[in-house]
């Protein structure tokens, strides 16, 4: 609760930073504030407190995912500061929107009432619609913003219709009441329909097949830093909310829908990875890869057992680290070579060895090669699915992981084995250090995974 209040207050401060002309303070204040809010979260660890008529509960699950989202936001704000001068128009407002978005994430991951889930999703989505359109005179950014907005509002309609039917079937919006009523009466047709529509709404938000069609366009058109923000913080929060909803409300009747989620997960992984192969733009390739990763994370939602929380948390951390750094490298390449095909990575190993190293580590982690965090992320998710008997889903997942190696390695191979005559890439100060830090964290988590996986 303190965490949520401080995040909102921070957003308000950043907003006034733009109006009252103390822009140079916005970035340091936001960074300090996000660290402070994380400390407040750590302080509330194990208290498991619920607030104001059980609207939200700050259990360890909520705190852990809030901290992951805040860390992602912190990195995004830092990179945003590096790449955009603070005299730029809308600088402070954009930072404020990111902070509001992460406040929405904190609501989404701690809800115990469907009303709070709805409000959290809307706060996050509205911020992202605006952020996607941040470059107002760029037609691709415009298009991305409009598509995201129309699809997001459309999916909200499904989400709400599902909530309404569930309310009709159980007579409450509180997750405890819903679980209790469903436990007594079982799933009737209306509750099942409500569950299905809620699921459709959430699958839209996490971009799973067949509701993924907006993702590549939106991710490609949005400014790259915003894409990194959407693909990491937005997706992690959506998954945390998805899993929390199912854990709290529908866990006892999971046999009824596991097959549906499993099928969606399998198709999502295959489609995302196969489509990614055909992309020439690396940014668009990463958009398809994020669809594929939604498929892997859906496996944890499907199994829905005691280890799901821990495994999806670890997966989120690994995915966030690798995704943010790969989007940032794409951005550096775009700025220096004006394009982001695999050929533009040529010779990166010679000219900028550290950037090439960060690229290699993040791509290895995304494809799930051992000794990186991504490997253990997949390992935890897959092993809990196997122990519940979903061998076919895991088989599809492993096959699609092998497919993914092909396109993840394309820029890495270009960086190390091809020659270039282009000059050394330049980038804002601090970018390289931060990218190296992220790579080291990825490797560290790949060697010592234990201290995140077992935490919740």
């Amino acid at each position: 609760m303190n965490l949520l209040i401080s995040l909102t207050a921070l957003g308000v401060v950043a907003m006034f930073g733009g109006i009252l002309k103390f822009r140079s303070m916005v970035m340091p204040l936001s960074v300090l504030g996000l660290i402070g809010a994380s400390l407040l979260g750590v302080y509330a660890w194990n208290t498991n407190q619920s607030f104001l008529n059980d609207m939200m509960r700050m259990d360890n699950y909520a705190i852990a995912f809030s901290i992951v989202c805040m860390a992602g936001t912190l990195l995004t704000i830092l990179f945003f500061h590096f790449f955009h001068s603070e005299n730029e128009i809308h600088y402070a407002e954009a930072v404020a929107l990111m902070l509001f978005a992460v406040a929405g994430c904190a609501v989404m991951v701690s809800f115990t009432n469907l009303l709070m889930l709805f409000l959290g999703i809307e706060i996050l989505s509205l911020s992202l619609y605006v952020l996607a359109g941040l470059r107002k005179k760029d037609l691709l950014s415009n298009e991305s913003s409009l598509k995201y907005f129309l699809m997001g509002a459309f999916s909200t309609g499904f989400l709400l219709f599902g909530i309404a039917l569930l309310y009709g079937a159980t007579g409450s919006f509180a997750t405890t009441q819903i679980a209790y009523q469903l436990g007594i009466a079982g799933m009737n047709g209306m509750a099942a329909m409500g569950l299905l529509l809620l699921m459709i709404g959430l699958l839209f938000k996490v971009a799973a097949v067949p509701f993924q069609f907006w993702t590549p366009d939106v991710y490609q058109g949005a400014p790259t830093i915003v894409t990194a923000f959407m693909a990491t913080v937005g997706k992690v929060a959506a998954f945390a909310a998805f899993l929390r909803l199912f854990q709290l409300c529908f866990a006892p009747s999971k046999e009824g829908y596991q097959l549906v989620i499993g099928t969606v997960a399998a198709i999502t992984m295959l489609a995302g990875n196969i489509m990614a192969i055909y992309q020439s733009s690396t940014k668009r390739m990463l958009a398809y890869s994020s669809i594929a990763h939604a498929g892997y994370m859906l496996i944890a939602v499907m199994t829905l057992n005691a280890s799901s929380n821990g495994s999806i948390l670890f997966y989120s951390v690994a995915y966030t680290l690798a995704s943010i750094s790969s989007f940032l490298i794409v951005m550096v390449v775009q700025q220096n070579r004006n394009n982001d095909t695999a050929d533009d990575f040529n010779g990166l190993g010679k000219t900028n060895p550290w950037i090439a190293f960060a690229l290699a580590v993040s791509m290895l982690s995304l494809s799930g090669i051992p000794a990186t965090a991504g490997f253990f992320g997949k390992f935890y998710v897959f092993s809990s699915a196997v122990s519940d008997g979903f061998i076919w889903v895991v088989a599809v997942a492993v096959i699609s992981s092998f497919i993914s190696i092909y396109y993840y390695f394309r820029p890495v191979i270009a960086a190390y084995s091809k020659q270039t005559h282009d000059p050394v890439m330049t980038m804002p100060a601090g970018t390289q250090a931060l990218l190296i830090l992220l790579s080291l964290l990825t490797i560290l988590l790949g060697i010592l995974p234990g201290f995140i996986a077992g935490i919740i």
């Binding site: 609207m55 005299n87 730029e88 809308h90 407002e93 760029d138 004006n338």
Partner: protein, 182 residues
């Protein structure tokens, strides 16, 4: 009497809703949507005994939101020729998808035992009054009420960002543009 009133209102509402998506002229669509909202509000006020929601629905939707739509449409000077219709195949696929969704929903709720849903306990009526709703909103639901304020902040900041004019050349997929406020 009330039963036939319900069916009349329902028929009118559905008719106007169909006209919203069928009308060629966007201005007509807006007006039909306002009428649809009036139909829904009539349901709230006369049949479901929820006068407060009904009045707020008229004030907020028909009064504020739809007027905003109307302003924007008139600002852009849109007319019937502005939109090229989609091909018939699209119409059929769209109608088919919507129809199958309707069938699935209807089939799922048809078999529900409604005894378990309706009329559990009567709390003395008038749950739709301002007094009851205000009390619930400001006690049990105070946290969502506060969180909604964050949502409005986002909307305000967002609308300001998007509506402010920038004097820049149009681009398609620019890599970066350092825009300084002179």
């Amino acid at each position: 009497m009330l039963t036939s009133a319900f069916y009349f209102i329902a028929f009118v509402t559905v008719f106007f809703a169909v006209m919203v998506i069928a009308a060629k002229n966007p201005v007509h669509s807006v007006l039909y949507l306002v009428l649809t909202f009036f139909g829904i509000s009539a349901n709230y006020i006369f049949i479901l005994d929820a006068p407060f929601v009904g009045i707020v629905n008229i004030i907020v939707y028909a009064g504020a939101i739809m007027v905003l739509f109307l302003f924007v449409i008139m600002l852009m000077n849109l007319n019937a020729e502005a939109e090229h219709r989609k091909s018939n195949a699209f119409l059929i696929v769209g109608a088919f998808a919507g129809g199958s969704l309707l069938l699935i929903v209807v089939d799922a709720i048809r078999k529900v035992d409604w005894k378990s849903v309706s009329g559990q306990e009567s709390s003395g009526g008038a749950i739709g009054s301002i007094k009851v709703l205000g009390k619930v909103l400001y006690t049990d639901y105070i946290l969502p009420f506060e969180v909604a304020s964050v949502l409005f902040l986002v909307a305000i900041v967002g609308a300001v960002i998007l509506a402010r004019k920038e004097k820049l050349p149009l681009t398609v997929g620019q890599i970066s543009h350092p825009v300084s406020e002179s």
